[in-house]
Structures are given as structure tokens and as C-alpha cells.
């Protein structure tokens, strides 16, 4: 929303104030000003000129040759194309060297053989209006040479308001409300509005029936005939500056009053209202109305429409219809001003996806007092701008609505406590009074505050709202900064968040994985690629940004997998992880979504790049991660992966357990999935369930006494055939090694052409140690023999 300084200055004296400072003060005390645009700066060098002489161009029918006095040096010889240029006019002259707001830089030129120095400007050339056909003709009293920036009614200073910062302030959706704020902020007087106070309620004009008093509790209409067509330049310029298109006085005035008071009005062509009557009613189910933008709108019984004797002619509070709008030939006007139910019109607008300037105001809960006021303002402006027009001395007004009469008990001590600065009684009276609150003292530090109607519809209803008024109008810089204080507490982190961060450290710092994030919405294509069963439902968005990404992910896994192809182009090996949530539908159609908290690590390696099996790599990561969390060492149990993790190879996945508690899964990605991802590589996933891990208590590390006697270490490799597991061999070694074998760890696996089909060579690291002596070579040799014999019994031979 844009505000014009010239317009504000109609209502409050702003003389001597710097526009930038006004912008800052409004930002600090009222609403965010996003920009201050000074049109005058863009018109530097442009001056008032006088057309001393004007004659036809000898070689061009449509061009005139003018001598222009511009207050400095010789008059300029200017060729002008405007049809309305004439001798004696005061015009806007841009000399050679000027850069115009539209970017044009003026140079000496020859036009059809005649020299032309500078330009006589039309409104579009100086950025004030849309018209190009004729030049602007100024007041004859102006001195040639006067900078255009100083001529009133032309260049303006504009303030851009952040609309979000006035969502709660229906009074600030027009210039008059901001003028009221400025009057308070600068201690100046707010001028009363020029209103046609002589108009009285009566029965002139179409009869009005309110059939939907909830949707429209108050409706007024005023009849005006023979209004002139064109709006004066100053008004057109203001409308353009505020982002509206000038369309002729009838409509321009309606927009002007809206931008001034915040109250939309709507002019109907009275001759096009069938039956000369108005009915405000609920639309009938399925009723169709063609709005001004030429779109047929299908309505429901929730919508409020304005109808004439035959059909709906406007969608209440949102937009009129083509069938009743004022046209070039309109002579009789019925001007509507009404109060519409803010939520009803808002719902209609949301459902139809149709917003308008009017709706933006109605939905904010406008003060019903503006209904009459806007008609009177419109009429006063008609009298000024189109004196020949005839205004009915009475207007119809039907129904009843008023802002609630709100009175609030206000305690100065409470304001002091909330703001953290001393708030004195006198300040309360003056400050609240300056923006229209009625303040009555009710004992020391106690007040009774009457809320003015323009603040009472929704904005101000409790004492806290008044504290804000007192605080903001004085400026919050008056509030001191107090060093943090309060009960000394030691902050704690949520235990699962704590686990998540420990995992991040382990994966990124120890295991060299890169943390990645993906959206919670997942592409249909990605779900299909990772093997998700389409029949398995996932929570679904009703209004997704992309129709093919409407479902929420069951896990971060698909997001990692679909990026794999790109990642593997980046390097021969990829290690990434995401710690995030998976989403599952709740029980029943309306059941609340269940969130699971997961850590998913992905390891991938191009085929040509040698390395250990991915399961073994991820097993190492799992061991390190679980250890980093202070949980006991996990074990793996081969199992068919669950249906909701379809990306795993059905026979190369295992459940991860700590003690008996399942904490996740680990395995190779299915060879069915990889080609769909465009990947031919060794790929595995480690999935940790954070709730499962959080359920396992952490244990502080137990110190193990350092042995007094040295250990003897040997490595043995066994050839293991199909059907035998490393764990079985490990157990056999442990059993045969007896008490002095303090540790057996498999550490390497080899498969190769030199070995038979399905055979592996697995190397074990054995540590022998006694508590009471140094073991001899013979002790170790004997143990080694027992071990080899025991393993041989299983069918595995020493290699």
C-alpha cells in the first residue's frame, strides 16, 4: 500500500518535516515503511515554462513549433507533438541535459528538419500519470523557471507500507488514519474531513432490502446524477501514485474515498439496475455471477450478493459485475456503502481465489461508522469537483451496525511492569488521548479508557493492547535494556535432540559423512524408484506446491537415494546422512500423523573402485555411532527387511540390536532399486531409529585394569565354505582358545578367483594373555593347535 505525502498533508500540517524522518518515525512507532520515494528528486532540472509563441511545423501536420520561456537565458525552440499546446500556456519544460523518470535523456535534436531543444512534457514522461496524448497545462500564475518539484499538486513523496504490519489496524487502510497517527506523533492537529453533513437519511433512490443481516448488517445508498467525466489532474496523479488506474470521476472518487478513509464504496449505473431496487441476500446454491474481470463465478449459500430486481449485480465486498458497472454514458448513479461480515466475505474470496482492494479492507473489520461517512465524503468531493452534478438531499440507510463500545480498565503499574519502564499517569492521558481514546481517571494510577470506534472493531479490546499504544507512541527506545536476570537455571536439551547431535558429530567428524537435508514432501517418482508400494498410504497434502510431490516421506532414505546418481558423478565414493523425520498416517481418516525420528546414512561406491563390502563399511559406522552414544555394542541379526523399507536387498539386510532392543536396519540397496535410480554401484544404507536408541540406557565406560603381563598376538586365516558364518568360526575359536584367549576379532574377508565357489578366507586376530605370568611360546603354540583343530571340525581349514 502506498501513501502520498501531499494527500496526508491535506489532513495534517506536515510543513517543515523531512519525509525521510516521517518514514522513520512511522516505522518506529506505527507500521513498517518499506520505502520512501521522492518523485521530486526524479524531476531535477524540470521547470515551469511559458509558451511564448506556437505555430505549425512547415513539414509536419501534427507538430507545432514553440518558443518556450523557461526562466534562464534565451527562450528555447521546441518542436512539440501534443495537440493541446497553445500560446500563453504555462507548461512543464524539461531542458536539454535533463534525465526524465522514464529514463529518457534529453539531447539537442532536429525534428523534421527543425532544431528542438528540450521537451514540453506529458504526464507519462514525468512519471505522474498514464496519459501521453496531451501535455500538462499548469496554473497560469506560475513563474517560468520555477522547479517543478516546488509546484504543488504535481510531484509527491510516496511511502510504501508493509501491509502485513497493518493487518490488525483497519483504521490504517487509508490516508486519514495515517494522518491521525502523524498528528499524534508530531503533536499537530488533525484537520476535520470535509463532509456533506447536510445529507440526511431518507427514502430517495432504490428501495433496499437486507435479506442476509448477518452477511450485511448495514447498507446505505446515495443517488447522484450528472457527474462530470474527468477527474482533475491532482486526483488522477494521487491515484496513480497509490497504484490505481484513473477511470473517470465516478470510479476515481470511489477509489479516492477508499484510499482516504479505508471504506470501499461501489457506484452502480442506476439505469442498469432492474426494478430500481436493491436486495442484499445469500447467493443461491450454484448461482453464477460474471464479475468485472469477465469471469463467471459459481456461488454458494455462504456468499453475500447484491441483487437488483432480477439478478445478482455484485459480489458483496469483493467485486461488482459487468452488467451494472458505470459506463461512459452513465448519468444516474447509485452509490453503495455498506458493512459486510468480514469472515463471510473473506471465506468467499478464499474459495474463489479472488482478492481485491475492497476485500483487503472489508476482511479487516471496518468501523461501521465509515458507511455514512464515506457517502458524505464522496458527496462533498462531488460538490467540489463537479458542481453541476445533482446530489439527492437524502440517502437510504438500512440495518444497524456499530463498533462495540469498549471500555477498558487500565492500570499504570501494569504498563510499567510489562514495558519495563516508568509509565506516568500523565503520559497515559496524553498519549492515549492523542490517538482518540477517551481516558477517564479512576483513582491513582487507575483509568477507564473508552476505545474509539475505528479501533474497537477487532484491534483494541484488552489492557495489553493499550500498553502497546502507550509503548509504541513514545517509541520503544525509551525502554531500557536490562541484563538477563531471573532464577539461575541450568538449561537441558531434549534427550532425543541430544542423541541426534551426538550422531551428527560421530558421522561427520569420525566417519567422514556429509550432512544433507531434503524436503519432507517426496516426489511420486522418487517413491516409485525406491520401491514404495503404492497401496501403502502416506500423509498427503491437500494443497501441495507440486501435484506430484503431495505425499510426506516415510523416511529420509528416499531423499538420499534419489540424489545418489548425482553424488556419484561428484566422486567415486559417497558418504552422506540426514537426521530427520519420517511421517506415517494416523489411525482413521482424521488420525494425527505419527512422526518417526530417524538417522539414515548412505554409503555408495562406484563398481570399479575397490573396497570392502558396503555392509561391512556400514557395520563399522554403526559400531562407532552406537559407541558414541554410550550404548553397548550393537549386534546384527539377518532378517527379511520390513515392508516399509522396500529399498533393502531382501537377503542382504540385517536388524541392528542393542541388547534385545531393535534400534535400526543395515544392508545393501536392492538391485531392483538401483537401476531405477540410474545407479550401478555398491550402495548400502544404515538406518537408526532414534526413539529405539533413546530407550536403551547409556552406560558410562567401565575401566578395565591394565594387564601386568604381556600379551601374545597371532593372526589366523581360515578358508570358510558356504553355509558357515564368521560368527560360528569365531565361537569355535573362542571355545578352543580357553581362558588365556582374551579376544578374538575377525578383521578381514577375502574372496577371489583363487578360492572355490562361495568360499571366503576370513582372518582373525587372536590375543592370548594370562593374569599371573608371561605366556611362553609353547603355551601359544599349544593353544593355536587346539584352535586349528576345533575350526577344522567345523569344516574350515587353516589357510
Amino acid at each position: 500500500m502506498w501513501l502520498s505525502l501531499n494527500w496526508l498533508a491535506d489532513h495534517v500540517d506536515l510543513s517543515g518535516l523531512d519525509p525521510e524522518e516521517i518514514g522513520t518515525r512511522l516505522t518506529m512507532r506505527t507500521a513498517l515503511i518499506e520505502a520512501v520515494v521522492d518523485q521530486r528528486a526524479a524531476l531535477d532540472g524540470v521547470v515551469v515554462g511559458e509558451v511564448l509563441s506556437c505555430g505549425p511545423h512547415p513539414d509536419a501536420d501534427r507538430l507545432s513549433v514553440c518558443m518556450v520561456e523557461h526562466g534562464a537565458g534565451e527562450p528555447a525552440h521546441v518542436v512539440c507533438g501534443a495537440p493541446n499546446v497553445a500560446t500563453g500556456q504555462k507548461i512543464i519544460y524539461a531542458p536539454v541535459g535533463t534525465k526524465l523518470p522514464n529514463g529518457l535523456k534529453l539531447k539537442k535534436a532536429k525534428i523534421r528538419g527543425l532544431p528542438s531543444a528540450g521537451m514540453i512534457c506529458a504526464e507519462d514522461e514525468i512519471g505522474l500519470g498514464p496519459e501521453h496524448d496531451g501535455i500538462i497545462v499548469l496554473d497560469g500564475e506560475l513563474e517560468p523557471g520555477r522547479p517543478i518539484g516546488e509546484v504543488s499538486g504535481l510531484a509527491d513523496v510516496l511511502f510504501e507500507i508493509d501491509n502485513k504490519s497493518v493487518t490488525h489496524r483497519p483504521d490504517l487502510w487509508g490516508h486519514y488514519g495515517f494522518a491521525r497517527e502523524l498528528a499524534a506523533l508530531y503533536g499537530r492537529e488533525l484537520r476535520p474531513l470535509e463532509l456533506a453533513t447536510d445529507l440526511v437519511p431518507g427514502d430517495a433512490g432504490p428501495a433496499i432490502e437486507l435479506a442476509d443481516p448477518e452477511g450485511c448488517p448495514l447498507y446505505a445508498g446515495l443517488c447522484i446524477d450528472d457527474v462530470s467525466r474527468r477527474s482533475p489532474d491532482w486526483m488522477r496523479f494521487r491515484l496513480v501514485a497509490c497504484g490505481m488506474r484513473p477511470l473517470g470521476l465516478l470510479i476515481d472518487l470511489s477509489n479516492y474515498v477508499m484510499l482516504e478513509l479505508g471504506q470501499p464504496t461501489h457506484p452502480f449505473d442506476r439505469d442498469r439496475l432492474a426494478g430500481d431496487r436493491i436486495e442484499v441476500r445469500r447467493a443461491s446454491e450454484g448461482e453464477v455471477l460474471r464479475t468485472l474481470d469477465d469471469i463467471d463465478r459459481r456461488l454458494t449459500g455462504e456468499d453475500v450478493v447484491i441483487a437488483d430486481g432480477e439478478q445478482a449485480v455484485a459480489l458483496a465486498g469483493i467485486m461488482g459485475s459487468a452488467s451494472s458497472e458505470v459506463q461512459d454514458g452513465t448519468s444516474r448513479v447509485f452509490l453503495e456503502a455498506a458493512c459486510f461480515h468480514p469472515e463471510r466475505v473473506r471465506r468467499t474470496s478464499s474459495r474463489l481465489g479472488l482478492r481485491s482492494e475492497a476485500l483487503a479492507r472489508f476482511e479487516k473489520s471496518l468501523d461501521p461508522a465509515l458507511v455514512e461517512e464515506s457517502l458524505r465524503r464522496y458527496a462533498a468531493l462531488v460538490r467540489r469537483l463537479s458542481p453541476e452534478a445533482r446530489i439527492e438531499p437524502t440517502f437510504r440507510i438500512v440495518g444497524q451496525a456499530a463498533a462495540p463500545e469498549t471500555r477498558i480498565r487500565f492500570d499504570a503499574a501494569r504498563a510499567t511492569a510489562v514495558l519495563g519502564r516508568e509509565v506516568e499517569d500523565r503520559e497515559i492521558t496524553t498519549t492515549l488521548g492523542s490517538v482518540g481514546f477517551g481516558v477517564t481517571a479512576a483513582g491513582p494510577g487507575q483509568f477507564e479508557v473508552a476505545v474509539p470506534s475505528w479501533r474497537a472493531t477487532r484491534d483494541v479490546s484488552i489492557a495489553e493492547d493499550l500498553i502497546e499504544e502507550v509503548g509504541r507512541l513514545a517509541g520503544y527506545d525509551a525502554v531500557p535494556t536490562v541484563a538477563p536476570r531471573g532464577t539461575v537455571l541450568v538449561g537441558r536439551r531434549d534427550p532425543v535432540l541430544e542423541l541426534e547431535d551426538q550422531l551428527r558429530d560421530c558421522l561427520a567428524r569420525d566417519a567422514a559423512f556429509t550432512e544433507s537435508l531434503a524436503y519432507s514432501m517426496v516426489d511420486d517418482g522418487a517413491l516409485t524408484a525406491v520401491g514404495w508400494d503404492a497401496a501403502r498410504t502416506l500423509p498427503r497434502l491437500a494443497n501441495p506446491l507440486q501435484q506430484d510431490a503431495a505425499r510426506l516421506r516415510p523416511s529420509p532414505a528416499p531423499g538420499l537415494l534419489v540424489r545418489l546418481e548425482g553424488w556419484l558423478r561428484h566422486g567415486p565414493e559417497v558418504r552422506t546422512f540426514e537426521i530427520g523425520r519420517g511421517y506415517e498416517p494416523g489411525e482413521g481418516a482424521d488420525g494425527e500423523v505419527r512422526e518417526s525420528r530417524q538417522c539414515v546414512a548412505l554409503y555408495g561406491r562406484r563398481r570399479e573402485h575397490a573396497g570392502p563390502d558396503v555392509e561391512r563399511v556400514l557395520r563399522g559406522v554403526a559400531d562407532a555411532a552406537v559407541a558414541a552414544l554410550g550404548r553397548p555394542r550393537p549386534r546384527l541379526e539377518a532378517a527379511a527387511p520390513p515392508e516399509h523399507e522396500p529399498w533393502f536387498h531382501p537377503r542382504r539386510a540385517a536388524r541392528l540390536l542393542v541388547g534385545d532392543a531393535p534400534v535400526g536396519w543395515l544392508g545393501t540397496v536392492s538391485p531392483e532399486v538401483l537401476p531405477r535410480l540410474g545407479v550401478d554401484a555398491h550402495v548400502g544404507l544404515l538406518m537408526l531409529d532414534l526413539a529405539g536408541l533413546a530407550g536403551v540406557p547409556s552406560q558410562p565406560t567401565r575401566y578395565v585394569p591394565i594387564p601386568r603381563y604381556p600379551a601374545a598376538r597371532i593372526d589366523l586365516a581360515f578358508l570358510i565354505g558356504p553355509g558357515l558364518t564368521v560368527e560360528q568360526v569365531r565361537e569355535a575359536i573362542q571355545g578352543a582358545g580357553k581362558r588365556t584367549l582374551v579376544s578374538v576379532e575377525p578383521f578381514d574377508v577375502y574372496r577371489g578367483e583363487t578360492l572355490g565357489e562361495g568360499e571366503r578366507s576370513v582372518a582373525f586376530h587372536l590375543v592370548f594373555q594370562a593374569k599371573d605370568r608371561t605366556l611362553t611360546d609353547d603355551d601359544v603354540a599349544a593353544a593355536r593347535e587346539r584352535v586349528v583343530k576345533a575350526v577344522a571340525k567345523l569344516g574350515a581349514s587353516l589357510r
Binding site: P342, E464, D465, E468, T487, A508, P539, A589, D590, E592
Partner: protein, 339 residues
């Protein structure tokens, strides 16, 4: 046949010669072995001692020892010379080229959001705030209604919302966690929490917008908490986060769940030069609305508090000079592995 004494002289001369002519330390060791070993000429010489007359044995033994000592001295001398030479050589090695490539240490990367979030958490933990969590899929009640944003209220437009088919929403802000934290604490003050997390807005991503981004919510409720306290806590927080003294200012702003509501701007205080930077908009905040306190089970007549919400993505962008918000969720390793 030569006498043992003559033989000793020959062997000694031979050993000394070999030591002198030895080219390196292993050469010296070979000589040492023959002189002191159990085999070879010297061993034989020693065994020959039995053939000497008893009176000759003493002097011969002394001669042998003297010879051995002489040999040992020369060995030591030569060995030291070799060590010295080797050391001199090593010390003189000028082949080091510091531009040869490093052997890389394998390291992973934490997301910039994680890094910033942790810094934020550490600062607030030190001020006695708990770090708490809430669901990303929220009920309409917690995301809107209980936060003083009733249905069909224009304030709902301030946040474009993703709705689920079951009527829930993807939370548009972390503010529902305020309520959950107050309720979880049984309506007892003091409450000091922050809640970082993922939030969602239904809007097309561009350089400065994302439909998925990260916020941290903060809430402090106690007896007598005021706007002045809020300025103090948030000013201290931002000073720590940015590692320099900053000043803050409050501008009025509308958030339905606070009253009064503010936007907080910050700029560094540069006392040395007296010059100051532009104000930077950092976060939204305000005094918790009485309706929200009541919804959290607290009595607004007895306690008051402030709440704030800050975008983590923007802080990460400021910190690292990131020019486009969309990198955060891009999963692009060229981006992620810079951090």
C-alpha cells in the same frame, strides 16, 4: 710357523686396516664380529694360548687385551665419524618442497544450519533455557487457534499454509512449541525454553524464500518479565552469536500471539570508529498474549513473558555469505562440503 705374538700383530694390523678402510657402519660391524666372535682367526688365537709357556701367558693376554682395546677405540671413533657424517647429511637435506600435496585427513561436513543452530542452543543453554522439540505436523488448534489466530482471521494470510488431507497442517512456525512447552511444564513458571526446527510455508522458492526452512522459537515466562528483559536477553544473545557488541531496537509489528508485538533490528556497536552499520532486521518478538498464556495453563495476572522467533537459514546465510536460500535444501555436495 709364526708365534702367537706375531700372529696377534698381524691380525691386529689387519683389523685396524679393515676398520680404517670400512666404507660404512655395517662394514665396521663385520670387523667387530670377527674380532669378538667365537669363530675365526681371533678365536683360534685365543685357543692357542694353551700352547704357550705359563710365564708367557700373562704378557700375551695383556697384549691381546691391549690390541682389542685399540681396535675398540678405533671402531668407536670411526662409528662416531659415520654417525656425524650421516647427521650432517640429513641436516643438509634441502629436498623438502612445501608445495607437495598433503595426505588428506578424511573428514565429513555438518550442515550450516546445524552449525548455527548449535551456537544458538549453546548461548541459550548458558542462560538457563531448555532446548525442546515439537511435531512438524501440527494440529490447526496448536498452529493457529490457541495462538490467537482464529479461522477466517486475516492473520492466517500472514503465513501461507500447507494443509494435510486429514485437516492437520505442516507447522508454519515453531510457535506451537511455546504452548506445548508451557503445558509440559504443568503451567508452572519459570519457563525458559527454545525450540529449533523445520517449518513450512506454501510459497514458491526463490533466492530469499523457501517452502521449507528453519526457525528457532524462544519463550521466557516468569513473574515480572518485561520488554526491558526481552531487550536484554535478545541483545545479549545476538552479541554472542555474532561475536561483537550489538545494539537492538524494537519496532511495532503485528503477530497475533504477542501483545505488544515487535520486530527487532540489530546493528553492531563499533565504539572504535564511531561509525555504525545499517540496522538489520533479525527476528520477530513480543510479550506473550494473555490468551496464549492461558492456553498454556499460566495465569496472565501473575506471570508475564516474552517470545521470539528467528530464522536460522538467514543467520547461516549472513554468516557464510550465502547468496541463495535454496542451497540449504539442495543436497548439493559442492555446497555442503564447503562447511
Amino acid at each position: 710357523m709364526t708365534s702367537p705374538t706375531e700372529r696377534l700383530e698381524v691380525l691386529t694390523a689387519d683389523a685396524l686396516e679393515k676398520i680404517r678402510s670400512a666404507a660404512d657402519e655395517p662394514g665396521l660391524e663385520a670387523v667387530e664380529k670377527t674380532v669378538l666372535g667365537r669363530k675365526g682367526d681371533w678365536a683360534q688365537l685365543m685357543r692357542g694360548i694353551g700352547a704357550l709357556a705359563p710365564e708367557e701367558r700373562g704378557p700375551f693376554g695383556k697384549a691381546v687385551n691391549a690390541a682389542k682395546e685399540q681396535i675398540a677405540r678405533l671402531l668407536e671413533e670411526r662409528r662416531e665419524a659415520f654417525v656425524g657424517e650421516r647427521l650432517a647429511q640429513e641436516m643438509g637435506d634441502a629436498s623438502f618442497d612445501p608445495s607437495e600435496p598433503a595426505v588428506p585427513v578424511a573428514t565429513g561436513h555438518l550442515h550450516p544450519i546445524t552449525r548455527v543452530r548449535r551456537e544458538v542452543e549453546a548461548i541459550f543453554l548458558s542462560m538457563g533455557f531448555d532446548v525442546v522439540d515439537g511435531p512438524e505436523v501440527e494440529t490447526e488448534r496448536f498452529n493457529f487457534d490457541l495462538l490467537n489466530i482464529p479461522p477466517a482471521h486475516p492473520a492466517r494470510d500472514l503465513q501461507d499454509t500447507f494443509w494435510l488431507e486429514n485437516g492437520q497442517v505442516l507447522r508454519t512456525h515453531t510457535s506451537p512449541v511455546q504452548l506445548r512447552a508451557m503445558i509440559a511444564r504443568g503451567g508452572k513458571a519459570p519457563v525458559r525454553v527454545i525450540a529449533p526446527g523445520r517449518v513450512f510455508r506454501n510459497e514458491q522458492p526463490d533466492r530469499t524464500h523457501e517452502h521449507t526452512f528453519h526457525q528457532v522459537e524462544g519463550l521466557m515466562v516468569d513473574e515480572g518479565v518485561s520488554v526491558a528483559d526481552m531487550k536484554g536477553v535478545l541483545g545479549m544473545f545476538l552479541s554472542r552469536l555474532f561475536g561483537k557488541d550489538v545494539e537492538v531496537r524494537l519496532r511495532p509489528h503485528y503477530f497475533p500471539f504477542v501483545e505488544p508485538g515487535f520486530e527487532l533490528d540489530m546493528r553492531p556497536v563499533d565504539r572504535k570508529h564511531g561509525e555504525r552499520d545499517e540496522w538489520l532486521e533479525m527476528l520477530g518478538c513480543g510479550m506473550v498474549h494473555p490468551t496464549v498464556l492461558r492456553a498454556g495453563g499460566l495465569d496472565p495476572e501473575r506471570v508475564s513473558g516474552f517470545a521470539f522467533g528467528m530464522g536460522l537459514d538467514r543467520v547461516a546465510m549472513m554468516r557464510h555469505g550465502i547468496d541463495d536460500l535454496r542451497w540449504m535444501m539442495s543436497g548439493d555436495l559442492r555446497f555442503l562440503q564447503q562447511f
